[in-house]
Amino acid sequence: MADAALTSLLAEQSIRLDRTAEDRFDAVRQCGAALVEAGAVDESYVDAMLERERTVSTFVGEGVAIPHGTLAGKESVKQDALVVLRFPEGVDWEGNAVSVCVGIAAAGGGHIALLSQLAEILLDPAKAEQLRSATTSDQVYALLTPDEDDED
């Protein structure tokens, strides 16, 4: 599989490890703003992300949510990108505590491969815990880099 590496889509300035958010929509808005700053999406993508969040929560478990736009928002995507925002105090996500948001901008089918790679990482409880407690961007990069000997 020629999947784009997660880390190649994540700029260092798109990793923000010490954020606070009033609620999940505020957290989604911050993810959207980070994607706009990364030059990955137009402002309108942020509305598409909020719309998605209103329709179905993007909480995936392990204290992680993956805000991303609706299909209609794909036209606002200039290039595929990820942002990682950490909320050490936690954000209430419909009764679940979220401490890490991985914001996703994806124009084409790359979406599914990205989510698959991310989910593989989060299915390992130790790695999920490390992501929740990461304090440096190096730690985040290391976690998102697939282990060579993990391939199957």
Binding site: R52, V56, V60, G61, I112, L115
Partner: protein, 89 residues
């Protein structure tokens, strides 16, 4: 064990929103449901991370299986869900 072979109808595959709706339905079904891909990878259908990790695309076939009381009814309604384009808005 009762099982159903289903083709993923959602145009973008079984990703965040369809995966979320599907795993919630599986969790509510009251029986443990397993989802297996053609490649033979199996996950708990109620785990959204498990489902996302499979990276299932549109038109792919998966097998749902479950055992116990109500397994057939649960599989029917979950298969119906996957037969629907859950990403239509």
């Amino acid at each position: 064990m009762p099982e159903r072979t289903v083709t993923i109808a959602s145009s973008v595959g079984l990703h965040a929103r369809p995966a979320s709706l599907f795993s919630q339905a599986a969790a509510k079904s009251g029986v443990p449901v397993t989802l297996t891909t053609k490649a033979g990878k199996s996950v708990n259908a109620a785990s959204i991370l498990g489902i996302l990790s499979l990276g299932i695309g549109h038109g792919e076939e998966v097998v749902l299986s479950a055992d116990g009381d109500g397994a057939d009814a649960a599989l029917d309604s979950l298969a119906e869900l996957l037969n629907t384009d859950l990403d239509k808005e």
